[in-house]
């Protein structure tokens, strides 16, 4: 496994820089994350030309992570070979904003791997899912995947450096919008997944009583205007709730584990979220803790549980990145990944079983 970062500003030259840093290794699979500053089709095509014998995939970002640093306007890549992977397959699903049909993709995986999805060993097989970050399709894609298989699919939503204009996913030299890339990996030594978020639950629980799921808006909590109830819950005495969003998102709680739903903006009496919320869901108001301390602890636990990590892919929420930037902690966060080959990016949403916000979902390849 090898990783590389390029800050060269044009696609062809950045890919050439990546290829030179990787050296004479072709690998079985190349995953790369590219700033939206690069032409998406040019970077995807150039990566395929640079690694012609490997399967290639990736997406655009809102910031990148590799070699122990968080970067902007860069291209990062990881090359994975036979030492960690027995097999890999990639499928693209298009038109996801209107209709989710994964049947062809999973039929192709079953054919490639020679086993029905229901029989894939969930300790050896792991999936990745990269989704157009403006499609609002993440919940439906993760739900559809979870209906088909119990193999973990981990991933993130493509970004565009906070422009919110167009995001792209990449597969095999092509660039796609309104699409998701699904990757199925048969690992040689196994893997672990890390889901880390830096929040603790408060005692305040809100019930979403009226919602617009398609718009990801909560109209009412506890039978009253959502913005008013949230303001009371977080102590926003003047009703100005936006400053409370970063440190007080809400969470679906399963035991002590929050599945974070982050408020995006107030819309009159309603609140728009980065995740959809169904009517009847009970949501706990969360309180922020330390991203650095929590992530460090969760990586350390994974290292112990797995007996060593050969490499990681980090899908880190852009809201976490923005908080790290505000606090001057981006170098500290990057340093958490300095001793293990890691690539990742700042996402518009994270996936692991479902769609979550203000979370990092991390795939960790187990050491031999």
């Amino acid at each position: 496994m090898k990783c590389a970062t390029s800050l060269v500003p044009t696609a062809e030259a950045a890919v050439a820089d990546i290829r030179a840093q990787i050296g004479p290794v072709d690998g079985k699979w190349v995953i790369f994350f590219a700033s939206s500053a690069y032409d998406p089709q040019a970077v995807s095509a150039a990566m395929k030309r640079a690694f012609p014998t490997a399967l290639t995939c990736g997406c655009t970002t809102a910031g990148e992570i590799a070699l122990g640093h968080m970067t902007k306007h860069s291209l990062v890549a990881m090359v994975v070979g036979d030492d960690l992977l027995d097999a890999v397959a990639i499928e693209v699903v298009t038109g996801i904003s209107t209709r989710i049909d994964l049947s062809e993709a999973f039929a192709a995986f079953e054919k490639r791997f020679g086993e029905p999805a229901a029989k894939w060993p969930h300790d050896r097989y792991v999936g990745l899912v990269l989704i157009d970050g403006l499609s609002k399709a993440e919940e439906r894609i993760n739900d559809a995947i979870g209906n088909i298989t119990d193999v973990s699919f981990i991933g993130g939503s493509a970004g565009d450096d906070l422009a919110f204009q167009a995001t792209h996913v990449f597969a095999d030299g092509q660039s796609y919008g309104d699409a998701a890339v699904l990757v199925l990996l048969k690992t040689r030594h196994g893997f672990g997944t890390i889901k880390t978020q830096s929040f603790k639950p408060t005692k305040r629980v809100l019930v979403a009583t009226r919602v617009d799921e398609a718009a990801r808006e909560v109209l009412e909590f506890d039978g009253r205007p959502a913005a008013q109830v949230y303001a009371e819950a977080v102590g926003a005495v003047d009703g100005d709730i936006a400053p409370f969003f970063q440190n007080h998102p809400v969470g679906l709680m399963l035991g002590n584990e929050p599945y974070v739903r982050s408020p995006q903006q107030r819309k009159g009496d309603a609140i728009a979220f980065y995740c959809n919320i169904a009517a009847g869901m009970e949501l706990t108001i969360l309180e922020g803790t330390s991203i650095i301390d929590d992530t460090r602890a969760d990586i350390a636990k994974a290292k112990t549980d797995l007996g060593g990590i050969a490499g990681m892919i980090n899908f880190n929420c852009i809201l976490r990145t923005l908080e790290l930037e505000q606090r001057g902690l981006t170098e500290d966060y990057g340093a958490l990944f300095a001793d293990i080959p890691t690539v990742g990016f700042s996402t518009y949403g994270e996936s692991l079983i479902g769609h979550v916000n203000q979370t990092a979902t991390i795939l960790a390849f187990k050491n031999a």
Binding site: D143, L254, G255, G280
Partner: protein, 67 residues
């Protein structure tokens, strides 16, 4: 009547996971993300037809037979 929702939740988890502890947790999470928090339902919870319908739909989506 009480406890039907818990009975359905337990049946979905048992069938989908086949008793595998990791898959039991995964299935609980899937049910929660589909809109029913398994931790909120006990043997003493009064039956709610809306929740029971929702759980039957969830069972169908997850490919398990529940009654």
């Amino acid at each position: 009547m009480n406890g039907k929702a818990k009975q359905l939740i337990d049946a979905i988890i048992a069938q989908r996971s086949g008793g595998n502890p990791t898959l039991m947790i995964t299935t609980r999470t899937k049910i929660m993300l589909k809109g029913v928090n398994p931790e909120r339902f006990l043997a003493s919870t009064p039956d709610d037809p809306v929740i029971i319908d929702k759980l039957r739909r969830i069972g169908q989506e997850l490919g398990v037979q529940i009654y």
